[in-house]
């Protein structure tokens, strides 16, 4: 048994170590369009100089990207000066760009010069409503308590976000809700939200004809776009560094707004927008082929299955013995059941983020998180399946003189098999659904098109992820129903 555990540990560690020591450069981007476009520009630019580079796009928010950069899972990513100062280096006194540079050095992180545009936070409203109420400045908002505020979750919690804004302008609205940035625009359009946070380069400002309120008390700092990269990139790929230098001061605000609206409003793919920019600015003609929907689907299926199968298999190997221990020893059992129960109450997104410091980004942390999530149903069903065996049956086995091990193997586990299998089935189905969140930390899978679909407001993209995920859940359920015929002993399947 011990050998088995060691083997599993080795497998997991080995899975975690592959790729990490290769010469490939990894670019990260956040899960909003501008970040993805910038990531794509860097990637294609480097590819044109024959750098072995890959774009890990849509990796959740600032914290995930920063941890991944420190961990070395990505080598560089586009960021904004305001975010670095307020979010990442919060508490350090940074007066100018030079002191920002020096502060980042402590983390072995370097910063490029600004790329040329400022994408600051802004507060926006429906123009018609703003004109009706006569609202021009953010300070005007203080007079209207009935307005509904809808802010991105990141903005709600950031030091340079809502808490500070509220204090500075003395805003006391009745209604403040957290919402996804891309969904907020829809809320504005249908009137369920009145005031939102914006990025000043958002394409939607023009598209939805939004009024950007004047920051009359100068609350928001500058958010100059820059590229953060690991110090060791200089040795790893000097080429990439010189390309970063060439991108400095080359993208102005208007250009960025145009690129954003190309993608979000005109539906152009990011890779095409990026290559058009490179061809215009640097005369680089790069032939990039769009991946076909079928290939995309195959890749997502493979990624998704990898997440589900490895985590579920690990969970079965771990949780069934835990259930047996819980049954054999009531005291330890109470502890085991509470611990796996507590794990289940941690929100899945939080568990994914907790895993990053240990496992970086990508499939490994997602697998570990899914593994932890799969434990409870299996442990609990193993425990209750064993617990429900009538005393007389157990005593009959004892009197036959069989050893405890033999009773477990020949009598107890077969009798509990239906319950155990039901637990595994529950875990598997939950697992298939939860695995879609893995895309937020770069694990791919069916969550990837869902994430992109939400960002680009594209139902068809969302369905490209949601439909296969649902189908997979149904198939998994069907396979388990089928396997019941093999695993559950015949004597328990006969109608009385």
């Amino acid at each position: 048994m011990k050998i088995l555990w060691i083997y599993i540990l080795i497998c997991l560690t080995a899975a975690g170590c592959t790729e990490k020591y290769s010469s490939q450069i990894n670019v990260g981007s956040k899960k909003f369009t501008e970040s993805v476009i910038l990531g794509e520009i860097i990637t294609q630019f480097a590819k044109s100089a024959n750098v072995n580079i890959e774009h890990k796009k849509e990796l959740g928010g600032t914290r995930i990207l920063w941890s991944a950069l420190l961990k070395g899972d990505i080598d560089l990513y586009p960021e904004y000066t305001g975010t670095i100062i307020q979010e990442l280096l919060n508490g350090e006194s940074i007066k100018d760009f030079n002191s920002l540079k020096n502060s980042l050095k402590k983390y072995s992180v370097e910063i490029s010069n600004p790329l040329g545009f400022n994408n600051t936070y802004a507060i926006g409203m429906n123009t018609k409503l703003a004109d009706e109420l006569g609202i021009k400045n953010i300070s005007d908002l203080a007079e209207y308590k009935g307005l509904k505020f809808g802010f991105t979750n990141e903005f709600m919690n950031r030091n340079d976000g809502w808490p500070g804004l509220q204090k500075k302008y003395n805003l006391l609205p009745d209604n403040v809700a957290g919402i996804d940035h891309d969904l907020a625009y829809r809320g504005l359009e249908n009137g369920s939200i009145d005031v939102v946070d914006l990025y000043s380069t958002d394409a939607e400002i023009k598209y939805y004809n939004l009024k950007v309120l004047k920051d009359d008390l100068n609350y928001f700092p500058l958010y100059n776009a820059v590229i953060l990269y690991r110090s060791d990139l200089k040795q790893k790929s000097p080429n990439t560094i010189s390309l970063i230098r060439r991108l400095e001061d080359r993208i102005n605000e208007e250009e960025m707004i145009n690129m954003n609206s190309d993608v979000k409003v005109n539906g152009k793919p990011e890779f095409q927008t990026a290559s058009e920019f490179l061809s215009k600015e640097f005369n680089i003609e790069l032939h990039v082929q769009q991946v076909s929907i079928l290939n995309e689907l195959l890749k997502n299926t493979k990624d998704h299955l990898t997440l589900v199968l490895i985590s579920l298999f690990g969970a079965i190997l771990f949780a069934v013995p835990l259930g047996v221990i819980a049954f054999k020893n009531k005291k330890t059992g109470n502890i085991i059941l509470s611990v796996v129960g507590i794990i289940q109450t941690i929100p899945s997104l939080a568990i994914l983020v907790f895993m990053i410091p240990f496992f970086g980004i990508g499939a490994e942390p997602a697998i570990v998180a899914l593994f932890l999530y799969s434990l409870l149903p299996i442990v609990r069903n193993t425990y209750s399946g064993l617990n429900e065996i009538p005393v007389q049956i157990r005593e009959s086995a004892v009197v036959l003189g069989l050893s405890g091990k033999e009773i477990l193997r020949k009598i107890e586990l077969p009798l509990a098999s239906r319950s155990i299998l039901a637990g595994i089935k529950t875990s598997a189905v939950i697992n298939v659904g939860t695995a879609t969140l893995g895309a937020l930390i770069g694990a791919g899978g069916f969550g990837q098109p869902i994430l992109t679909g939400i960002r680009l407001d594209s139902i068809s993209l969302i369905l490209q992820g949601a439909v296969p995920a649902a189908l997979l859940a149904i198939i998994v359920q069907y396979l388990f129903d089928l396997s019941e015929k093999i695993i559950v002993p015949k004597g328990l399947r006969i109608d009385k």
Partner: protein, 245 residues
Amino acid sequence: MIKLENISKHYNGTGVLNNITLEIESESTSILIGPSGCGKSTLIRIIAGLIKPSNGKTEINSVPVTKKNINGIRKNIGYVIQEGGLFPHLSGYDNIVLAAKYYKWKQNEIDARVKQLSELTGLDNVLLDKYPTQLSGGQRQRISLMRALMLDPQILLLDEPLGALDPLIRFDLQKDLKEIFNKLGKTVVMVTHDLAEAVYFGDKIILMAEGSIVQNDSPKNLIENPKNDFVKKFVNAQRTYLDFK
């Protein structure tokens, strides 16, 4: 020989058995009888080693039963309970041979023993492949008896083995069981609440009440010389169709 010395059992301060001392002779049939809650089932489960007594000791063939040697001693004990206690996921055959396989008997030894036992219990061989849920109560008890006898133990413990059967099947099985006991010459201890059954089977009847033995005697003596009013009352609390007027 089974020897119990000063056996007591209490759960959370409530006594179930009080200071029981008892000797059961080899190759005899003893019947534990008494009203519900008198402790007869607890006593037979202590003999089977399923419950540890709070006080006192058990000896089987002059060997004190301990935690260490109990599994070895169990090879020498067959146990049948009400409704058989068969493992529902195993066929009748697999139920019967489970222990023999565990002790690594050869297949030809197993086959010979199963044949012998099905002749003894009068079980149709076709039924061996059926699962417990596919069998009648009487068939289940015959298989349960075969399972108990598989390793040819000296001691056979039966806890209300015929309790759940309808009268006709019960009548046939009583007859068969008695023949089997006579033929095999095992030390049999059987729990029942039916005095007629006790008299039919028992060399000795051990009448219990409230955790103690009231009278341990031959059927004849129990009926003709009841030790006290309780025994008299218990013996007389039987109805037959002769009561019909």
